[in-house]
């Protein structure tokens, strides 16, 4: 069921945006795996078996993305994920990525929770800082033609409300997805927008460790 045709990685170093040059550039990266959509061209009621099979795909992609960004895990401050489903598929096929994509990055970044509980939709009580990557992984998905762009949202890995780190990265794989393909995407960055100055919660002031603030 898992058939990876292409892997596309992209890493950006942003030095300035017409303001002062950053001492350390913002690093943003994304990885897209182009897979055959096993459900293309028909309505399949039970698509859940694919979700579990995507777990190792997500883990491999998260590690590849971190390596391509060439920064230590400790510097990864935001994450996001997405999917672009080819024309013979449906948006719900892209939704299969929520659990395997999100938890692959969360585990890479130091999350200590129970993936199986999340898969079943069970939340956990959080207090103090049980680990890293406490925030929900923001996402977008759509059905599109080859070369369709997807703006993948990025937010802080521990507190979604860190305003200076609200960002997004545009991902586009030339030539994909074909009608019977899906592009599954992971994205991460080293944090603050290069000229962030609209205030709000700072990462160093995260206090609740509830994934939000």
């Amino acid at each position: 069921m898992i058939d990876i045709r292409r892997v596309f990685t992209q890493v950006e170093h942003i030095h300035h945006e017409f303001g002062p040059r950053a001492a350390t550039p913002l690093v943003r990266g994304a990885i897209g795996a182009v897979l055959t959509n096993p459900f293309a061209g028909r309505y399949e009621a039970d698509i859940l078996p694919m979700m579990t099979l995507l777990d190792p795909v997500g883990v491999d992609m998260a590690h590849r993305l971190r390596a391509a960004m060439d920064v230590p895990v400790e510097r990864i401050a935001t994450y996001g994920k997405g999917a672009i489903v080819g024309a013979a598929g449906e948006q719900e096929h892209g939704a299969l990525w929520h659990v395997p994509g999100g938890y692959a990055m969360r585990e890479l970044l130091g999350w200590k929770g129970d993936r199986n509980a999340y898969r079943q939709g069970v939340a956990e009580e959080k207090s103090g800082q049980p680990g890293n990557a406490l925030s929900i992984v923001p996402s977008t998905k759509k059905v599109g033609a080859p070369g369709t762009t997807l703006d993948v949202p990025l937010t802080n890995i521990n507190a979604s409300y860190v305003r200076g780190q609200f960002d997004s990265i545009e991902v586009r794989v030339p030539g994909a997805p074909a009608a019977d393909e899906i592009v599954f995407i992971l994205a991460m960055s080293t944090g603050y927008r290069v000229h962030e100055r609209v205030g709000g919660l700072r990462a160093e002031n995260i206090a609740k460790w509830d994934g939000l603030r």
Binding site: V7, V11, H15
Partner: protein, 194 residues
């Protein structure tokens, strides 16, 4: 003068399967892009020396970025190409100044040898304009399996006073070459053609 670089972007495109056929080892193509300020934007300048110097700087920087992203030794590079997209306040000759006089030598150093011409493309464009960077074998331009192209595109560039400069390097030809012609295994690599 050195380039005022706003962004650097490196992409790697790895093909493991094409038309149901496994590609082993996968074909891998890298493209590195720099978004720079155009020092001649909005005016006619007879001399384009600053852009010529920037071309030399970027040939090394972008060539090395590609090789590093592919994770290969320089001598394992097989094909290359270059391109530039000039923002609206610039002219096509600005792209030529970056690409043609001095970019090639440091790029060839980054990929070892490089007897063949570095194929190129240029155009004027705006934010998100895509350019197809032509690819050809680095030591023998007639190697038919390595005629290819890879898209370069930056979502927020070039602004009117910017230029997007792209260099592409691969460690392979097309995924399933089968249209004959000169084979990579047959080249002499002396005249840059065969």
């Amino acid at each position: 003068m050195s380039a005022n670089i706003r962004k650097l972007i490196v992409q790697v495109d790895e093909t493991r399967k094409e038309m149901g056929q496994a590609i082993n080892p996968p074909t891998r193509r890298a493209v590195a892009m720099a978004v720079i300020e155009n020092p001649y934007a909005g005016r006619y300048s007879e001399s384009l020396d600053d852009l010529i110097a920037i071309g030399e700087e970027l040939g090394a920087l972008l060539g090395e970025k590609c090789v590093k992203a592919l994770g290969i030794a320089p001598g394992q590079a097989q094909s290359y190409g270059k391109a530039a997209i000039v923002g609206e306040a610039g002219e096509l000759e600005h792209a030529a100044a970056i690409l043609h006089p001095k970019l090639g030598a440091p790029l060839r150093a980054a990929v070892e040898k490089g007897a063949a011409l570095v194929p190129s493309a240029k155009k004027r464009g705006t934010l998100g304009t895509a350019i197809d960077v032509p690819l050809g074998h680095k030591d023998a331009a007639f190697v038919r399996s390595h005629f290819d192209a890879i898209e370069a595109r930056v979502s927020d560039a070039p602004r009117a006073n910017e230029i997007v400069v792209a260099v592409a390097v691969t460690d392979s030809g097309r995924p399933l070459p089968r249209i004959g012609g000169l084979q990579a295994s047959e080249i002499k690599g002396e005249d840059g053609l065969r």
